[in-house]
Symmetry: C2
Subunit: 227 residues, 2 copies
């Protein structure tokens, strides 16, 4: 078994993501909560700590006390998303006897947007999901991946992929590429949703019902591929 991810209802985030843990103060919670909203509004490139500081009535310097730079803030948010996704998948697959159904449930979670959960009041999961869809590849498509990986900052993503890959192995032990298939599904679920909104000719996903459509496309793809 991989180790548990849930600490009460709050996710445990490795201290290496931040300079000072943002959940230990109101300012920290604001930085995370409002950071998500501002990233969604401006996009990663136009987002700056100065703008975020102005918005929450603090100073640039104070934000730097929590996060080294905006790249680390995005990495923190993305890692939070991976942990949250793993938590949802654990919930969705416990106490289900049939391996095939367990895999199906996991894939449905994996390809569906995360939704609001009042137990995490400082994070708007729906907005965070849009940020993850539009910005998360910028986190790892970056010169510092190797160093960040060495620091263990991608463990959440790896654990998530491994967990679902294990479900694939249960259903189809002979299949050769379970992890690659899962990372493909994760990234494609984000990308197809992005394309359906911004470059619709790059997908057949229905812009009217992108959620159901994306899930159907990818779940079918996985089951046909591994059988």
């Amino acid at each position: 078994m991989t180790q548990p991810v849930i600490d009460q209802v709050r996710l445990h985030m490795d201290p290496r993501f931040h300079v000072k843990d943002p959940v230990t103060s109101d300012l920290g919670l604001s930085i995370v909560g409002q950071g998500i909203l501002l990233l969604d509004e401006l996009g990663y490139e136009a987002f700056t700590f100065r703008k975020l500081a102005d918005r929450i009535g603090t100073t640039e310097a104070s934000i730097y006390r929590y996060f080294k730079n905006k790249h680390r803030l995005l990495l923190y948010l993305t890692a939070w998303y991976w942990n949250w996704m793993e938590y949802r998948i654990v919930l969705a697959t416990t106490n289900i006897g049939d391996a095939s159904i367990r895999l199906r449930r996991a894939l449905e979670e994996l390809t569906r947007p995360i939704s609001r959960d009042d137990r995490v009041p400082h994070i708007d999961e729906e907005v965070l999901y849009r940020v993850v869809v539009a910005e998360s590849p910028k986190v790892y498509l970056h010169r510092e991946v190797t160093e960040e990986n060495r620091e263990g900052l991608y463990l959440g993503y790896k654990r998530l992929c491994r967990r679902v890959a294990d479900l694939i192995r249960e259903v189809s032990p002979a299949y050769l590429y379970p992890v690659a298939l899962v990372s493909t599904v994760v990234e494609s679920s984000h990308l197809q949703r992005y394309f359906s909104e911004h470059l619709p000719r790059l997908t057949d996903v229905d812009p009217q019902r992108p959620d159901a459509s994306t899930t159907e496309f990818l779940v079918e793809m996985v089951f046909r591929t591994i059988m």
Copy 2:
């Protein structure tokens, strides 16, 4: 039929990508050729027009006469790659009678790195491929997608996906998501290669033979999915 992409041996690039067509002067060819090498060395974030100017012995201002900004240069390079890939696929699939074999050939091209072609002396395709793998999502995961799309700057990518999707439709007319499947394959082929090098636990692709491995994974995925 979609329109032809090849102009002699040189690809025709829409004038909207650039301020001044780089293939019309030595300086322009240098900007493109050395730009690829410098992007590969520094990564997109650290790459600047000043550094490129220093490297090729010109000035920042002169580079701005060819490309509006570094984002547009990357878009130009990426679009060149899409056009080149379409060209390769056209070559690989002409005069092949069997639709299934035609699709297989197309997918093999699509998932394989592009390689050096001496007919295009100013571009090192192998380096360009690395740049595309590591940077191309940043082109469309950007606030200006909508505007750029309106300008027609993604037509090459759309045409490429549509062409391969049409091959899927020939083999399996009932399949519902041919375009989504192709864009998934394109992006995943880049991503799996990137992961195999930088985050190997996110893939099963063999770092010793990433090309064959990626192709095998994705070609198999497509055929099982559409059958």
